[in-house]
């Protein structure tokens, strides 16, 4: 079965770019969200196998959304996806529960590598 992915980014351009890469590599993009609050609602509704999460978004930022999703589901697999790649921010996101961190702009092979690794790291039982 194809892994279900929720793509969270306030830019439709970036959501489309990420979704295209994931679909071309055998994943099913089951939903999208354009801010952290909507991401939490979509997570509850869709129960995706993985979430790609931007950081700077209106209403609620991606790191707060990661914290809230992890509080709902400690097994959630979330990969951050941001142009801000500062070490302190990466550490904060990982501490919040993110599995990995993609820095924009990225090439498709890097996205696939990180997403697949995040999916592999979870018990399948």
């Amino acid at each position: 079965m194809k892994p279900k992915v929720l793509v969270v980014d306030d830019a439709i351009f970036m959501r489309k770019m990420i979704a295209e890469i994931l679909v071309e590599n055998g994943m099913d993009v089951v939903g999208e969200a354009d801010n952290g609050s909507t991401a939490i609602e979509r997570y509850k509704e869709l129960k995706p196998d993985l979430v790609t999460m931007d950081i700077i978004m209106p209403e609620m930022n991606g790191i707060d959304a990661v914290r809230q999703i992890m509080a709902l589901d400690s097994q959630a697999r979330i990969v951050m996806c941001s142009a801000l790649g500062q070490q302190a921010l990466v550490q904060e996101a990982i501490s919040a529960g993110a599995r990995d961190y993609l820095i924009k702009p990225f090439n498709p092979s890097r996205v696939v590598e990180v997403v697949k690794k995040a999916l592999d790291h979870v018990p399948t039982a």
């Binding site: 306030d10 830019a11 439709i12 351009f13 700077i56 209106p58 142009a83 500062q86 921010l89 924009k104």
Partner: protein, 196 residues
């Protein structure tokens, strides 16, 4: 000495920003000028065809606990159309202002360039630097700058400006990037880079 240090900071940060643009477009982008100066903000108008010229401006506020600055990415209107076409690989069939996908693309280009710039700046000033959600305006340059500067609470017409001009190597697109830190933030930069 201070100006030299800031120019180097500007060079490195803007190199990161244009590298971000280059990777996104998969095209070579060159930095044409990096300059550091205290200038009346209306001088920015001279880089274009005066305050009435139509431009697209993406702007964000970068901040940490004791640091704040505004970044502007300014493209003459036809250049913003070309940039969107290069990023999406499609010719724009309708007015950029009426097409949400094109606006989103331009906003994301600004997001990536400003994010890359701030990542480099963050290393210099040894602070985590966050930024606001990018805003975008299309209007006459004078109108855009007036409204942004009111938001910024810039009380006088002079500001310390780090300016970068960049072009795509094939000459099909050019743009300008400005970083305007507050005066308190300048002290933070000087302290951290060890220039008193």
């Amino acid at each position: 000495m201070r100006i030299d240090a800031l120019k180097e900071l500007g060079n490195i940060s803007s190199a990161h920003a244009v590298t971000g643009l280059s990777e996104l477009l998969r095209k070579r982008v060159d930095v044409a000028i990096t300059s550091v100066d205290i200038i009346p903000l209306h001088v920015i108008y001279n880089l274009f065809n005066g305050p009435e010229s139509m431009v697209s401006v993406v702007y964000i506020e970068g901040y940490s606990e004791d640091f704040r600055g505004m970044m502007f990415l300014i493209f003459p209107h036809p250049e913003s159309v070309r940039l969107v076409e290069l990023a999406t690989g499609k010719l724009l069939e309708e007015d950029i202002l009426k097409d949400e996908y094109s606006l989103s693309t331009l906003r994301e280009i600004g997001n990536i360039m400003c994010g890359c710039y701030l990542n480099a700046l963050s290393t210099f000033i040894n602070r985590k630097v966050m930024h606001s959600v990018p805003q975008i305006s299309h209007d006459m340059l004078g109108a855009v700058m007036d409204s942004v500067l009111i938001d910024l609470s810039v009380e006088n017409d002079y500001a310390f400006v780090l300016e970068t001009a960049f072009t795509l190597t094939d000459g099909r697109c050019k743009g300008f990037m400005f970083f305007v830190p507050t005066s308190d933030s300048l002290s933070v930069i000087f302290n951290e880079i060890g220039v008193d």
